[in-house]
Subunit: 249 residues, 2 copies
DNA sequence: CTCCCCACTTGCTGCAAGTCAACCCGAGAA
DNA sequence: TTCTCGGGTTGACTTGCAGCAAGTGGGGAG
C-alpha cells in the first residue's frame, strides 16, 4: 500500500514522501527490537506503536524536516543514512550528526517543550525510515514504568555521547580534531587498528569538524604520506591507532 | 554538625570535603524545589531524598570528582560555581561547562551504564553543593510515573542544549564563536541588549571556545573598540545584539 | 562508447590565530 | 607601605588554515 503525502505544508518547499502503512507489513523491522527505546516493549505495545507509525522512503538529498518545524514525530532508520544539520544566518550549512540504520533521531522530541525540531534532517542516500508519533510513544510510557526506565537510560547515553562530541570540538587544531574523529570511529576504542568507513561524504565530515573540505583533504593526504592511514574512497584504514594518538599529542 | 570525609580513596589526591548532614537542616534548599528534577516530588519524597544526601562545602579550585571515577552521586549547586572539564593525553585542560547555583550536574549518571563521571568537576570559588545518591533518586523514580516524566523532560532539555553547544563549536572562526557565546548568555535571546556576566574566568571561556586566551582578549578588545560591547572585569555590556549578530554574518 | 557532473584534490596566496615574551594591574601577604 | 602572584593584555613573529581557482577522476546518463 503506497500513497503520497505532504508532511508539512506550512513551510516552503513541501516535503513529499512515499508512505507505506505498517499494520499489514512488519517485515524489516526486526532492528527495532534491538533498539534501547523499544527492546523492553511488550509485543502488543510494539505492534500498536508500529500500527500508528508510517514507513517513509526518502530519496537522495530529500529533506525530512526543517529546523523549528513543530515536532509531532520521531524517527527510526530502517535503511540508508541521514544527516542532521543547521543553517546559520548567512546560510552556511553545518553538519552536526549522521544517522545510521538501527538508530533513532529526534527522539528527544518525545519530551521537549516546545516540541520543535532542533535542526534540519535530510537523507544522504535513498533511505527508509519509520515515522513514530511522539504522542503514541508518550502514552506507552505511562502504561509501564519499565518503559520510562529504558527511555531514561537511552537519553543518558545520548547525553554522554554529545558531551564527548563537545569535547572533541574543543580540540584546537584541525589535524587533532580529525584524528580524534577517526579514532572514535574505530569500534574497539583504539586498542587495535582497523578500517573505518566515513559516515558522511568528506566535505560533510569537514563541516562536522569545523574545517574546510580542502583542509580535510590536505590533512588526510598528509597522514597518508606519513604512513599513518590508508585511504580508499570513504574507507580509512588505520594500522596503528596508538601512534596516531601520540601524533596528536 | 560538620565532619570531614574522603569521598573516594581509590584515586590519587583524595578529595577532602566538609560534610553537613541535612536531616536537621533544610535551610537554603528552597532552590531545589524550583529545579525540574525535584519540582514534582512530594514533600515526603523530597525530605527523604534530602535526608539521604550530604551537603558539601568546596574551596576555591577544589576538585569534586575525576573523570572515570565510579559515579554514585549526582549534584545540585546551592551556592558558588563549578566547572566541568576534561584532560587530554597531553594534559591540556579543556573546559566544557560551567555550573551555577540552582543547577544540577552529573545527573545523567542517574541512568548511565557504566556509571562513571564523564569529566572532572572542580569549584571555581567557595561553593556549597548537595550530593545526592543516584540510587536514592532511582528508587524514587519507581514509586511515581510522574517523576520519570519530569526526569525525561529535563534530559530532553539537556540534550537540546548540548546540541546547541555543539552547533556553536562548528562555527569556524574564533570571533564568531565568541559572539555566539555572548549572545547565548543574554537572558532574552538577543531581542534586547543587556549586561552579561561571564560564567568563567576569561582564560577558561577561551578554552571553552577552543581558542587561546590571547585570542579571546584581542577579539574582545576589538569588539570594544568598535563600540559593540563594553567590558568591565567579567561583565560584558551588549548594547545592540542585533548588530553583533550581523557582524558575525 | 562519450560526455558531463560532482566530489574531491592540489597549488598558491593572504589572513587569522597560535606562540612566545614582556608587561600591566589589582588583590592579598608580609 | 612594598612584594609577589595570577589573571589579563599587548606586541612581534610564525604558522596553520581558509579562500580561490584550476585540475583530476570516477560514476551515471545518454
Amino acid at each position: 500500500m503506497v500513497a503520497t503525502q505532504t508532511v508539512d505544508t506550512r513551510y516552503s518547499k513541501p516535503v513529499l514522501v512515499a508512505v507505506n502503512t505498517l499494520a499489514d507489513d512488519e517485515n524489516g523491522l526486526q532492528p527495532l527490537r534491538n533498539h534501547a527505546l523499544f527492546k523492553s516493549l511488550s509485543n502488543a505495545d510494539l505492534q500498536s506503536l508500529i500500527a500508528q507509525s508510517r514507513r517513509l522512503r526518502l530519496g537522495h538529498h530529500q529533506l525530512l524536516y526543517r529546523q523549528d518545524m513543530p515536532a509531532h514525530h520521531f524517527f527510526f532508520v530502517i535503511s540508508g543514512r541521514l544527516r542532521l544539520y543547521r543553517l546559520d544566518s548567512s546560510g552556511v550549512d553545518r553538519t552536526l550528526d549522521s544517522i545510521a540504520p538501527g538508530d533513532c533521531f529526534a527522539e528527544v522530541m518525545i519530551y521537549a517543550d516546545p516540541a520543535r525540531y532542533a535542526c534540519y534532517a535530510e537523507a544522504l542516500k535513498s533511505s527508509e525510515i519509520l515515522m513514530i508519533p511522539v504522542k503514541a510513544y508518550q502514552e506507552l510510557l505511562d502504561t509501564n514504568p519499565e518503559y520510562a526506565h529504558a527511555a531514561l537510560r537511552h537519553y543518558a547515553m545520548r547525553a554522554v555521547s554529545r558531551f564527548h562530541d563537545l569535547e572533541v570540538m574543543t580540540v584546537q587544531n584541525a589535524r587533532d580534531r580529525l584524528i580524534r574523529y577517526l579514532i572514535d570511529l574505530l569500534p574497539n576504542g583504539a586498542t587495535e587498528g582497523g578500517e573505518v568507513e566515513l559516515p558522511l561524504p568528506k566535505c560533510l565530515v569537514a563541516s562536522r569538524l569545523a574545517m574546510q573540505p580542502e583542509t580535510f583533504s590536505r590533512i588526510l593526504a598528509d597522514l597518508k604520506s606519513n604512513g599513518l592511514v590508508r585511504v580508499n574512497r570513504s574507507k580509512v584504514f588505520i594500522s596503528d591507532p596508538k601512534r596516531l594518538i601520540e601524533i596528536s599529542q
